[in-house]
């Protein structure tokens, strides 16, 4: 009987340890597989920030958004949509020409030095 209780206690402790470990070392959010909280056109997003930066910022902060827009500038690991949405890409930029694309990423804040909307962990969802 005593053996059985000991066994149960050990099993419970193990379960607790596994849960504890998984909580402390949980995975990061995976923006590329998360479904977007908002899907919108680049010009609409820019217009929202032009109307009220503070409101737009708190609405989208830390949210995954999918934006349809046109590439206006690009670098190795980033694309800029419609001149004012800066998207930092998870992987190297595969597109070399300027055209319309969809980008999914996490909004990290409004850059008032350059007046840009900034996203990180972006993936290009259309080719």
């Amino acid at each position: 009987m005593k053996k059985k209780t000991l066994l149960i206690v050990i099993i419970l402790l193990l379960i607790a340890a596994v849960f504890g470990y998984n909580y402390v070392y949980q995975d990061h959010r995976d923006i590329s597989t998360e479904s977007a909280a908002y899907t919108l056109n680049a010009e609409d997003l820019i217009a929202e920030f032009a109307t009220d930066t503070e409101i737009a910022q708190s609405k989208y902060l830390n949210k995954t958004i999918l934006i349809n827009g046109e590439i206006t500038a690009q670098r190795n690991s980033s694309v800029t949509l419609n001149n004012s949405i800066f998207c930092s890409l998870l992987e190297q930029n595969p597109i070399s020409e300027k055209r319309k694309i969809s980008v999914k990423g996490r909004f990290i804040g409004y850059d008032d030095l350059l007046e840009e909307i900034k996203l990180d962990q972006c993936t290009i969802t259309t080719n």
Partner: protein, 182 residues
């Protein structure tokens, strides 16, 4: 009239050009508040905007706090929710003026002193006579890097007793910006 207009556009565009600014949108800022033999408390932001005006040595950098990435996801969550409170304070800024700045003497690595301020968690700390390293690179870009030692108490951040032995109250901040001519 048309000619005048062209001349005017030409002159103003030269004016903009002469206002030499160098900038980056992907500057790197790292902070570390680790304590030896405990899990490292360290995060990096690779999407920092930084601008320098090479006429007078004025610079400004903007760090979006949500952009700090930790190895540990839970630590990142706690940092954002309990310490930086990044929903309420999404931005950190770092600005100042480099003393005796001259573009001509930047070919070699230069240690320069600057004064300015840093704002984080809604609190501003002034910086006097700190130093940074600035260098003009062969591809024409400017490399600025340096370190700062900051105290969490200066930014009105409280560290709960439970974790106070795992978290240093002095934070090392390092930055590295490769700025290109605008």
């Amino acid at each position: 009239m048309k000619r005048l207009l062209i001349l005017f556009t030409l002159l103003t565009s030269i004016g903009i050009f002469a206002q030499s600014k160098y900038l980056t949108k992907t500057g790197k800022v790292t902070f570390e508040a680790s304590v030896p033999s405990f899990e490292e408390v360290k995060a990096t932001n690779k999407n920092t905007t930084a601008i320098i005006n090479t006429e007078n040595g004025e610079f400004a950098a903007l760090v979006l706090v949500k952009g700090f990435r930790f190895k540990n996801a839970l630590m990142e969550e706690h940092f954002n929710e309990n310490y930086a409170e990044s929903d309420d304070y999404p931005k950190a800024t770092f600005k100042g003026t480099i003393a005796n700045f001259s573009m001509d003497e930047l070919s070699a690595s230069n240690i320069k002193s600057y004064s300015g301020s840093i704002t984080f968690h809604g609190k501003t700390k002034t910086l006097d006579n700190e130093s940074l390293n600035i260098k003009k690179q062969t591809d024409g870009s400017l490399l600025i890097k340096g370190e700062l030692k900051l105290n969490v108490a200066d930014f009105d951040i409280e560290i709960p007793k439970i974790v106070s032995n795992k978290l240093s109250s002095e934070v090392n901040v390092s930055y590295e910006f490769v700025l290109n001519k605008k």
